[in-house]
């Protein structure tokens, strides 16, 4: 994989005490953040200000206060130039059912300023890249949710932008569709060389896809760090094992064995199959190897070992706990 990435010191998006106040709510509160090339996750609960931020960055909604730049262009004065170089995939449905994907994407390419012949050629290319083949000539009304999401993604990429905003692209997809979409998002950067800002309310799925994660809550910046920092502190493994004759309670045997090796393990209470699931914090690759070896030594069957998908609220509580711990520690 050739990474067309991380030119040092290049900033794709920069905001400086950016605020947006509506009569009743403050959607963004002095948000200052710098985002470089690559795939960046924008995480926040519903109503955290993600969509408002995208609107401001597209130059469609003026900020109440502060300033922002996208690709070095000022959002307040150069909105049209930004929108020519940026793609946008909305969260909601936005496709007319009675036209084919090809017709629709060609039209959208022309709306981005591509001449007719180039629009057709880019449409064929882009639809193929997002994984739509023969079905692209059929009316969109008959598509599955996953195919519709691909068309939405294609219209955001058809004019070869330098940056795309993807608003909740995995919404409404089943687990397989979700993984495919996340893989596609990863490829947008690694293969196409396009930077991505992707929003989600699920931190877990972004951890695996993004180079960098920005967490906002109530319009405030909660945290901005590269995903490697994130995963070190937040990846939790869920492990489930079988019982054997030798170890009638396999779960307990594994817990004791892991304890002996200095790994703190919690029982996964409150989860489906509680009592049979152990939760442990992964410190990196070694943890996976350790669990594998311990399970093998005990002769247990490993039913599953998976990264738990975090809900954003867990990050907040963990953050608070850590702060408290820091206060008590000092």
């Amino acid at each position: 994989m050739v990474r067309v990435t991380s030119v040092d010191g290049v900033t794709v998006i920069a905001t400086e005490s950016l605020s947006k106040r509506f009569p009743r709510v403050t959607a963004l509160d002095r948000l200052s953040v710098d985002i470089g090339p690559g795939v960046t996750g924008l995480v926040g609960a519903n109503g955290a200000g993600k969509s408002t931020l995208i609107k401001i960055l597209l130059g469609l909604s003026p900020a109440t206060e502060g300033r922002a730049e996208v690709l070095g262009l000022d959002v307040a004065s150069e909105g049209a130039a930004i929108r020519e170089r940026v793609g946008y995939m909305p969260e909601h449905d936005c496709l007319p059912p009675d036209v084919s994907a090809t017709e629709f994407v060609v039209h959208m390419a022309r709306m981005s300023g591509l001449p007719p012949a180039a629009a057709r050629e880019r449409t064929a290319d882009t639809l193929r890249h997002v994984g739509l083949y023969e079905e692209r000539y059929r009316p969109i009304g008959g598509y599955s949710t996953g195919m519709k999401q691909r068309v939405k993604l294609a219209q955001a990429l058809v004019h070869d932008p330098r940056l795309v905003f993807l608003d909740e692209p995995t919404n409404g997809l089943d687990p397989v569709g979700r993984d495919e979409m996340l893989g596609l998002i990863r490829r947008i950067h690694t293969d196409f060389g396009i930077s991505v800002l992707v929003t989600s309310h699920l931190l877990g799925e972004l951890e695996r896809t993004c180079d960098h994660v920005v967490v906002i809550d109530g319009g405030k910046l909660l945290r901005s760090s590269s995903t490697t920092d994130f995963t070190q502190t937040t990846t939790t493994l869920a492990v489930e094992v079988t019982d054997t004759d030798e170890h009638p309670d396999g779960t307990r045997a594994l817990r004791e064995a892991l304890h002996a090796r200095g790994v703190t393990v919690e029982a996964g209470s409150g989860l489906p199959g509680a009592g049979h699931i152990l939760l442990l914090t992964a410190q990196g690759e070694e943890t996976y190897d350790l669990v594998r070896d311990v399970v093998a030594d005990l002769g247990l069957g490993l039913v599953r070992m998976e990264q738990r998908r975090h809900h954003i609220s867990e990050v907040f509580t963990e953050d608070e706990q850590r702060k408290e711990a820091a206060v008590h520690g000092s």
Binding site: L60, D93, P96, R122
Partner: protein, 305 residues
């Protein structure tokens, strides 16, 4: 590097000698034609769409049918005029659209919601505004497209009449003048009807409501106005007739053309407005067109993303 994607087996039919190579992602470094080109593209797409071109077969039926219905009477008139060697056409150029107003109303009612309600209903509007075009470009493109479509609908039968009149060897100067007056009149009508239709349609994302509302506004206003005019005529208050005519789109156009475009009025007793009242008619028509445009702008300022 590109991830090779195997093409589905169905794509490679046996005996097909052409091979498709996946050459990975290619960047686009050709021209980007910007805002005015995008606006023109939206205009031509909407204009074609108003006749169902580039859309499903089903959506071609109604506009094409109305177009034919609009032209057939003109063709019959011409045929009669040629056959009977008449001295003049049975209907004035300016009168034709007034006679066929039901067809025009039906066309506006069906195509105005098609043009704007779909974008609202399927939330396609945000996709437009995330591109270089601005609210004003969208409104202008949609307005111009529907007005042009209406002009095509209303001017085509006039062309049929004109060509027929020339074939029947009617007086050239006379016919050309009437034809030109007719074109001005239907141009004004197209702008006015497009504005009214789009404003109503842009309020509702539901196409059905849009169709019903446009038909209601156009026919009820005409029905009410012509009834009142008939009553005024019966009571011999002829002076009130032109003023009542200000309250429906069709009678507005009728008033303007009978005052300035040499048309005979279709009002009861042919009591069309004089040039003083006619000026008011022109102002009201222009005011309504401007108001339609202004309302659309206001509406789309709010739609945004």
């Amino acid at each position: 590097m590109a991830v090779e994607q195997p093409l589905p087996a169905s794509a490679a039919t046996p005996g097909d000698q052409t091979r498709i190579h996946n050459i990975g992602y290619r960047n686009y470094d050709g021209p980007r034609l910007g805002r005015s080109y995008a606006t023109r593209s939206l205009y031509s797409q909407s204009l074609r769409g108003a006749y169902g071109l580039g859309r499903s077969v089903k959506s071609k039926v109604l506009p094409m049918l109305l177009f034919v219905v609009m032209c057939v009477p003109a063709a019959i008139m011409v045929a009669v005029a040629v056959a009977t060697k008449a001295r003049e056409l049975p209907v004035d150029y300016t009168r034709y659209a007034i006679i066929m107003q039901a067809v025009i109303s039906l066309y506006v009612a069906s195509q105005a919601p098609q043009s704007v309600s779909r974008d609202l209903r399927f939330k396609t509007v945000p996709l437009y505004f995330s591109r270089p075009i601005e609210t004003a470009d969208y409104v202008r493109a949609k307005y111009a497209a529907l007005a042009s479509a209406l002009f095509v609908l209303t001017a085509a039968p006039l062309i049929v009449l004109y060509v027929g009149a020339l074939l029947a060897k009617l007086d050239f100067a006379d016919q050309t003048k009437g034809f030109a007056q007719g074109l001005v009149s239907v141009a004004l009508l197209s702008l006015l009807f497009a504005g009214i239709g789009l404003v109503i349609a842009s309020v509702t994302p539901r196409r059905g409501f849009g169709i019903a509302a446009v038909i209601a506004v156009l026919t009820i206003s005409y029905g009410a106005v012509s009834t009142l005019q008939a009553i005024a005529d019966a009571q011999n208050s002829t002076g009130a007739i032109p003023w009542i005519g200000l309250f429906s789109p069709v009678t507005l156009i009728d008033g303007v053309q009978s005052a300035f475009l040499g048309a005979s009025s279709a009002f009861p007793g042919a009591a069309g407005p004089g040039s003083g009242e006619g000026a008011v008619y022109v102002l009201v028509v222009l005011g309504l067109i401007a108001a339609g445009y202004g309302l659309l702008m206001r509406r789309y300022k709010k739609v945004g993303l």
